[in-house]
């Protein structure tokens, strides 16, 4: 089956789970910005975990030349097939020749499109993930983002029977992407070198998501939280690390972050909240709350077991 890109939207790329074990050679982790939505998309499209899919900003349009099953997820996503609106967070049967249009309602948020089957995309350094800066991954393996006219080959998945029960994630179980709830942060790295005042400031202030947000990092603006450290040796930057350069404005490090860096860090955003933050758009306001690692682990275990239970019920 061929997937033709009719309109690429603003910025869309092929992603998968990312590169594991290569950060020590300088290759960034990469992977889906919103891993929750990515996992759901593949599950609902009858794919195995880690199957490539499309992460799109803006309205993307594609055409398929064979019958297939797809699913669209993300933050407030919408989907229409041949001009008729269809439900998201649900397996959708699509007929050969149909045109699929999908997007997120918020400009800057990502929508995920999973297509059932075996994606014929090259793996570069163990992953199909597109990293433009590293000239890695994507359709040509050299880091090109999707463009109009591109054609992706996806082989039919023979495991999925025609009469397979379609899968739906009920509305009430779809992740909440709002920012009424604070973003949880685990204190770590150079946390103790920040003054009590700086830490309190960070926790009690509201930060605005700036327009400098990309797959490397999200720059926030708000009250300054300078640390006492002037010079430190570069060290590994974990996903969600909150680094604070000299100007005191925090940057949350995302999937395509550089592997090493020398700015002091307050800690890391909880793995439970990183997908939600990754879907924020410029101008949105976020608050942070510190949480110790035991609590964070408990929350994460609850979140993952809840997802497993939901998937078990849907099957």
């Amino acid at each position: 089956m061929r997937i033709n890109v009719l309109s690429k939207g603003l910025f869309s790329l092929i992603i998968d789970k990312g590169r594991v074990g290569k950060q020590r050679e300088g290759f960034c982790e990469s992977g889906p910005m919103d891993s929750n939505a990515y996992d759901w998309a593949n599950f609902l499209a009858f794919n195995l975990d880690g199957t490539p899919c499309i992460e799109a900003i803006g309205e993307m349009q594609i055409r398929v030349d064979e019958d297939c099953v797809i699913a669209v997820t993300g933050r407030e996503p919408s989907l229409d097939i041949d001009g008729i609106a269809q439900a998201v967070y649900q397996s959708q049967k699509v007929s050969a020749g149909a045109t699929i249009t999908f997007k997120s309602a918020l400009l800057g948020s990502k929508a995920y499109l999973a297509i059932c089957g075996n994606w014929q995309v090259p793996k570069a350094v163990g992953s199909a993930c597109t990293v433009v800066r590293e000239q890695l991954g994507g359709l040509d393996g050299k880091g090109c983002v999707l463009k109009d006219g591109d054609c992706i080959e996806v082989l039919a998945n023979t495991r999925v029977k025609d009469n397979a029960k379609m899968r739906t994630l009920a509305q009430q179980h779809i992740d909440d992407y709002g920012f009424i709830e604070s973003i949880r942060v685990i204190p770590g790295y150079q946390f103790t070198s920040f003054s009590t005042v700086a830490v309190r400031t960070f926790e009690t202030s509201t930060y605005t998501v700036s327009s400098s947000i990309d797959r490397m990092g999200f720059r926030l603006t708000g009250e300054s939280v300078a640390s006492d450290i002037e010079n430190m040796r570069s060290e590994a930057i974990h996903l969600g690390a909150i680094q604070v350069p000299g100007d005191g404005q925090p940057i949350v490090m995302m999937r395509d972050r550089q592997t090493l860096g020398g700015y002091p860090k307050l800690g890391c955003v909880s793995p439970c909240d990183i997908s939600r933050l990754a879907q924020a758009v410029p101008g949105e306001k976020v608050n942070f709350v510190f949480q110790d690692e035991e609590e964070a682990r408990a929350d994460w275990l609850l979140m993952t077991s809840r997802r497993r239970r939901l998937q078990g019920e849907i099957l």
Partner: protein, 259 residues
Amino acid sequence: MQAFGCIKRIVTAGADAIIVYFDGANLDEANSACHQMLAAIDAKQEHIAHIDVGKKPEGDTSTRWSWLRECVPSYDSLLIIFDMALIDSHGVYLALRELDAENIYRLSTASEQRVKTSVVEIPVWYGAPNASDLSIVSKKTSLSIEEVIALHTSTTYKVYAVGFSPGFAYMGDIPEALKCARLGTPRKRVPKGAVAIADRQTAVYPSESPGGWNLLGLTAFDMLLHKDQHSESRLRAGDVVKFVSITEQEYKAGLQVEL
């Protein structure tokens, strides 16, 4: 988490990661300690992978670190990322303590021997027109251009860490006299193969990218090895590197070979 051995501090990095900082009389020692621990962890994983392949697993397979997701070393620190479903940070700490000290020591002598036998030579066309801050460096250091080149090629350097971008190797220490601060305003484009210095460090830009280091010249030495769909860093932490001065013609000839 109490420090032990040549570890200075162990702190939480995030919910699923801890970072270990190493001690030593100088950076070189701390860096070696870091890579000894990494080698011991890697050896453990390989050993267990080997057992898995065999039909009859021998030894205690319950010691398998199946929770280990990734280790990312740097100058004097090692980030250890784990699977929260399988272990908590205290469990990771206990596993590190259990790493056989003797095993670490044996590995360290082996890896030092390996290093001694291989010095990687990187040929540099110093003063290449599109990659030269030689006059700036000359001013900053009060050395002549010839002295800058002579100093940069005078000694071998150790690769302390690979990171920032694929194949970017942080090497040091350059002679004190050559020490110079980063550019006030980083360049938007540094060409691939640019050889650069900043503070007491030196590096080669593996691909065209922005950068704020002082450029000395160009090399045809490719920092990334490309095989089919696989790329890997040509230099590893612990490798020893020496720069040698070559002419423009030799550089261009080298470029042909690398292509």
